[in-house]
Assembly symmetry: C2
Homo-oligomer: 478 residues x 2
């Protein structure tokens, strides 16, 4: 028998959540560190998850008329600086190209941290008439932000994302786009990633540099810390004015279009790990799993087992399910541990006794539940079981979220609740940044969002006692 590769142990999440997270990233072979400090490599298994995410999102974007483009990766400093707030927000994190070949460049070029400036510059050249509006663009690419501390998927100097950029004839249309794309993200998180979200608006302090309004989907991880899932921004005509993007309107006069942008990144893979993973490793929602069903033959050397397993693989694959069979000479125990580590949603075990009974045993990754499945009912049972895993993951994450939202009437209470339970703390708020700073300083929490689903928890701000304007969510965030 061949030398068996050890399935490496990972740290328990209860012992050290951060180490557990990193262990999964490495041992499920999602990601590896690169030679360049703060940069990561997306390995085949991690990239396959990203490809599945991309495919689903891209189809959604296209359904609502968005088209893909590719903008240059380098932005001249002067172009980047035209809109003051944006450049102030990103300047400390920009990587600069200063040499091309052996020549010192006359003007240094920024590796894009985000591409609003390039899109505006392009639109200023190609937009003429209201008839060409809206322009609904998106691009898939990587960006660089020179972060000081990094963690795989969550914070990395280079990350992969999509950035949507659109311009519209009216403010109303642009606002509707911002909202539509936020809902698109929310649906993706809930229906595909099986992660329930809180939809809301960012405060002035937390909004995107240069935006008039930023909307967000916020989610909760298993350690009860918050994670910003994806954001959608409304810019009004601020960038249009700064970059001189104009069009001839219906009134035959020159006008400025109204703009949005919206983005989601490989950090969503981090969200999936921390929302669904357990002490045996990664747990993947079937909709994004590179391998949805793994077939493990039991006593594969016995006559007929390998053939029957191969037949099973063909049947399951013919249902449009991403399936694999492991015919290697590693032990059953090793194989089970290995595919649990990799988060494969469903394992089918097939041995001589199963074949006698014309069945196989299906084991769900999310809760370990075993079901005996007749080989004549694969076409209904396997898709059903995958749906159950998808729903099971969502329900568990929803319960985790629902049980970790706590109302508070003061900073002290908020602090105590956060320390005891984690999660989102909801309070009334006066709308002043001063109170956000105080909450941060005294309770260690940032504002996550002003939820669309408002509740009346009282009349005064939990921080300063002045009349409240809105209800707001606080949390300790990744």
């Amino acid at each position: 028998m061949a030398k068996e590769k050890k399935v490496e142990q990972i740290t328990d999440m209860e012992t050290d959540f951060a180490q557990w997270y990193t262990d999964i990233c490495r041992k499920a072979e999602l990601v590896e560190y690169a030679s360049v400090k703060g940069f990561t490599i997306l390995r085949p298994y991690g990239y396959a998850i990203w490809e599945n995410m991309q495919q689903i999102m891209d189809a959604e974007f296209k359904k609502t008329g968005h088209v893909n483009v590719a903008m240059p990766v380098l932005i001249p400093e002067s172009l980047l600086k035209k809109e003051g707030e944006l450049v102030n927000g990103f300047a400390p994190e920009v990587a600069w190209v200063t040499m091309g070949g052996s020549e010192e460049l006359e003007e240094r070029l920024a590796f894009r941290p985000t591409s609003e400036t390039m899109f505006c510059d392009h639109w200023s050249q190609v937009l003429h008439s209201y008839r060409e509006l809206p322009m609904l663009y998106n691009q898939w690419c990587s960006v660089i932000r020179w972060e000081k501390t990094t963690r795989p998927f969550l914070r990395s100097r280079e990350f992969w994302w999509q950035e949507g950029h659109t311009i519209h004839e009216t403010a109303e249309e642009a606002k509707a786009e911002t909202e539509q794309q936020l809902n698109c993200y929310a649906d993706f998180f809930e229906n595909v990633l099986a992660i329930p979200v809180v939809r809301g608006r960012k405060t002035e302090k937390e909004k995107f540099a240069g935006a008039e309004a930023t909307y967000t989907v916020e989610c909760l991880m298993k350690d009860h810390k918050a994670l910003q899932g994806a954001t959608s921004h409304y810019f009004g005509d601020k960038f249009s004015r700064a970059y001189d993007v104009t069009f001839t309107g219906r009134d035959n006069k020159l006008q400025y279009p109204f703009q949005t942008s919206w983005g989601s990144t490989t950090r969503m893979i981090g969200a999936v790990i921390m929302a669904h993973g357990d002490n045996n490793g990664l747990v993947l929602p079937p909709k994004i799993a590179p391998v949805q069903v793994i077939i493990v033959p039991v006593a594969a050397h016995k006559p007929g087992v390998a053939e029957k397993a191969e037949e099973l693989l063909q049947k399951v694959t013919s249902l449009g399910i991403r399936a694999k069979a492991d015919f290697s000479d590693n032990s059953l125990g090793w194989k089970c541990a290995q595919y649990e580590m990799k988060g494969v949603p469903l394992r089918l075990e097939l041995g001589p006794r199963d074949i006698e009974n014309n069945s196989c045993v299906a084991v769900r990754r999310d809760n370990g539940e075993k079901t005996t499945v007749s080989l004549d009912e694969l076409d209904t049972c396997i898709p059903e079981l995958l749906e159950k895993v998808q729903k099971g993951l969502y329900d568990a994450a929803r319960i985790n979220l629902e049980q970790h939202i706590f109302p508070a009437q003061s900073i002290e209470e908020a602090k105590q609740l956060q320390e005891e339970h984690g999660g989102f703390i909801k309070t009334m708020w006066c709308g002043e940044e001063q109170c956000e700073l105080e909450m941060k300083e005294k309770a260690g929490m940032s504002s996550r969002c002003i939820p669309f689903a408002q509740e009346h928890l009282g009349d005064v701000c939990a921080c300063c006692g002045k009349p409240a304007k809105t209800m707001i969510y606080w949390g300790v965030a990744y």
Copy 2:
């Protein structure tokens, strides 16, 4: 009636081929210049062509077991320099990042010109045993090469590509991979892009920096200049040794794997323009056309026309064909010119008289041929017509190639043939670089490849008169 947008004229290809090419790039809205010198923007229509190319190629790569990954875009100078030939080949064209935020970096970082070094560095960390071989990786990304003169798609400081990188247990396997991937490119050019190719090996002078052997598919444009389509490289174990990539072999000893890489770029869009375009604009092979069928209603204001055109659109779309209908109030003439400019393979015209006859008129973009198609036979006729366009384009390009390959016995004859006819000049060759330099100097041609399909044209080298080793193709190349 709304103000009609002018369909802009393009330069005739006979008058000025280079200007004709640039006109198509701009006026078919494939590409636009960016603010950064030498950089381009892939506009929605150009990017949609690239997406179609990507989808088809990616599926082919995956069929033979390749998986996608994402490597960091920045490479430390010290890492880039470990293999001398590679860095010497690319150093003059590298863009350097020297600052991160406000800090000067200790070591400057290269924007990847190609990623052999990153893949090797990664493999040196993750490869252990022969059981993990082969590793068949690919990535879709952009690279930068700081070119002095640039042209859309053909030579641009940033371009988009796929780069395949693989390592194998034996030299034979790596060589077979190099060949397999070259054939994959050749099939893609011929069956998808409708461009016939000459397959062969590059000379020592023209091969990829650091490669042991470079294979190429070479094609011929309408101006009878040559274009290198895509290349596939065999590295032996040279990089493995330089980057210390090792594995435990079947004999339990440490060994170096054998390596390949292979790449194709957005320059393929340039090849399509110059292989198929005409004086009315772009001509796209149906397999990569973002819009395969455009439906143009005639006298759309007359009762029933718009409804019938919409019905036609539904029917054609339901056949899995990418179709659009233009219900705008632009004139018929404008619409026809517009979709010719954009290279849409098939136009369906539908007016009141057609509706009476239960038919529409199909106009092929490649040769202008008109066919009356019964509305009851769309499901057979439309796919057939698209196949005819695909085949028609290939046949025309094949004839162009076949009629422009000329044998020559001397540099003088080669020069004269090139000046009179263009195309590929084939001669016998001794194998010495000196003769390549002489051919370049005296006849303005570089060696394109040593074709796999060899012919015996004589016994001596056309340049020096010494005994010939092989037959070789020369050309004036993009």
